[in-house]
């Protein structure tokens, strides 16, 4: 009797300890982000204050007003263009990477073909190479082709960066779907194409959504390659735009933080929107078990 109470107590203690640890880790992870967000709403002086001021004393939207060039002396940063560039580049490259990923992932999951293992391994190895290591050759080729400082140039880079990952992820999801579902649909009167769209695609949808989110975030946040391949408002993306706040001798932390918030918010919103899909997993009740 006492023994079980004891063990229950120690269990509860353990759980509390784990929760505390998790919370601590979360705090450590979140603090920098929180600092950035808080700093977006206060003047530069307060950011640099020692000892640090945590809660903004005079919360203000000035930083945002400044970067949009609204009624102050600050030189406006073309945030609007950057935002549109980022959006166009990230969405387009994600859409293309997803289409290739769906076709490729399906092929890897369902068909046998010559060199399958080799190609798959090659894709994964390509993932292992840091993109920045390829930046010089990419830069040279892109400039020969005349697509430096174009959205197209970045889109191509991001598509190739994302395709291995989307293929890998989507392949895994299609593999989980029993082949017999597609076969049952074909017996039921579907062409292979119809079976794909009516049965297999809806079941892999969560996985495809997840792959899409990851691809979008990769493109949306990428800085290293974009900083080399873009020059002007025609193609500069938001992360590259952050550098506009560094002058020779000063860094406008407040403006930078405000812009960082502008970058973070859409990414957060997107992740929240699809989190159901990300977590949901798949229910395969139609198959045994």
């Amino acid at each position: 009797m006492t023994a079980t109470v004891e063990s229950q107590r120690s269990k509860a203690l353990k759980r509390a300890g784990l929760t505390a640890l998790t919370f601590l880790l979360m705090v450590v992870m979140c603090v920098p982000g929180l600092w950035v967000v808080l700093s977006a709403f206060r003047p530069n002086a307060e950011i640099l204050a020692k000892p640090p001021v945590w809660i903004p004393q005079n919360p203000t939207f000035d930083n945002f007003r400044k970067i949009f060039g609204l009624g102050t002396d600050q030189v406006a940063i073309p945030v609007g263009s950057y935002f549109m560039n980022s959006l166009i580049i990230a969405l387009t490259s994600t859409a293309i990477a997803l289409m290739i990923g769906m076709a490729g992932g399906y092929a890897f999951a369902r068909y046998r073909f010559r060199g399958k293992g080799g190609i798959f391994l090659g894709l994964m190895l390509f993932r292992a190479v840091p993109g920045i290591a390829l930046s010089l050759p990419v830069f040279i080729i892109w400039s020969k082709m005349g697509i430096i400082d174009t959205k197209l140039g970045l889109i191509i880079v991001y598509v190739s960066l994302n395709v291995p990952f989307t293929i890998w992820l989507i392949d895994g999801f299609f593999r989980q779907i029993p082949l017999s579902l597609s076969e049952a649909a074909q017996v039921d009167g579907c062409t292979r194409w119809q079976a794909y769209w009516k049965i297999e695609f809806p079941l892999a949808r969560s996985g495809i959504a997840a792959a899409g989110v990851f691809a979008f975030l990769t493109s949306w946040n990428e800085f290293a390659l974009a900083s080399q391949l873009t020059r002007s408002t025609t193609s500069k993306t938001l992360p590259v735009g952050l550098l506009d706040f560094t002058a020779q001798f000063t860094i406008d932390w407040a403006g930078m933080c405000a812009m960082a918030v502008i970058i973070i918010v859409p990414a957060l919103i997107l992740t929240f929107l699809v989190q159901k899909h990300l977590i949901a997993g798949l229910t395969f009740g139609g198959v045994k078990g």
Binding site: V187, G285, G286, K288
Partner: protein, 364 residues
Amino acid sequence: MAEITLDKVVKKYGGLDVVHGIDLQIAHEEFVVLVGPSGCGKSTTLRMIAGLEDISGGLVKIGDRVVNDLPPRKRNISMVFQNYALYPHMNVRENLGFGLKIAGEATASIVKRVDEAAEILGLTPLLDRTPAELSGGQRQRVAMGRAIVRRPDVFLFDEPLSNLDAKLRGQMRAEIKKLHQKVRTTVVYVTHDQVEAMTLADRIVVMRDGRIEQVGSPMDVFNHPRTTFVATFIGSPPMNLLPATISGGAVRLADGTAVPIPDRLSDRVHEGRRVTLGIRPDDISPVGHGLSQDGPGAEVEMEVELAEPLGMESLIYTRLAGQEVQAKLYGPRLVQPGERLSFRMALDRAHLFDAETGRSVRED
């Protein structure tokens, strides 16, 4: 009309032949069961009929169409898969109606036909559930409903009951049989369970290593197995097989025990031929506790090694000529291990197979 014809059908995977030229005629509305041990090519054969597997050689005909190059959807068949393959993202109603919807049926008629099929299979209260919310037996029923709703020419079943527990399996077996009596259609049914084969089939096709070993009605296959393989595969417990030689006008077992040659086989064997004597456990019983007391027989004394009482009968393990032999005792009498009893073999139902080829001597 949907008879099915397999004409020298071959399946190769790369260099590996898994089905070696099968010939089979299945009549309109016939219930044919393909049975055989694991890996013998039953599923492959069924899937070639369905169009889910390319045919490497030979012809498959459904009705009078050669269907070798037709995709599944053009063969007017339906299939019940071993794992049911219900669409997890659709409820039961949508699962049942899917084929009709694809075929472009009017909504009203889909509803009507789905309701009919649900009625037949007792699925009406479950129509709004998803497959994940069903029990194994209910899923099984939905899978069958999906097959009958389209009124195909041919039903194909691939081990549909193997995921169910023994009791439910027996129940569903009976339901499939009833279903076939209601919805008369040509059926090809794959199983490795000989009880399913015996109870369901109009005709059994016993397969082994990609070949057909024997085709016939359940009773025919049971009473006249053409090979030792069929003899041991059909019937439970399996037929006892005892090596023997024909000598001095009798079947002489390894230890010298002489058993008279069964009358109907006496002109099939000659002196000195090496044979295998086959006799089912039901046909060896302690004297006075067998199925029949008259007719030609032979008596041997054997010691009981183990007895499994099954209520009104017992299965007895004993030993004859150095071989384990299973015998049946009919009646509620209990026997003990070590007991020596006189057993009677009913020779009118005994079999002789050639020792080398394993083929019944009736076949020569």
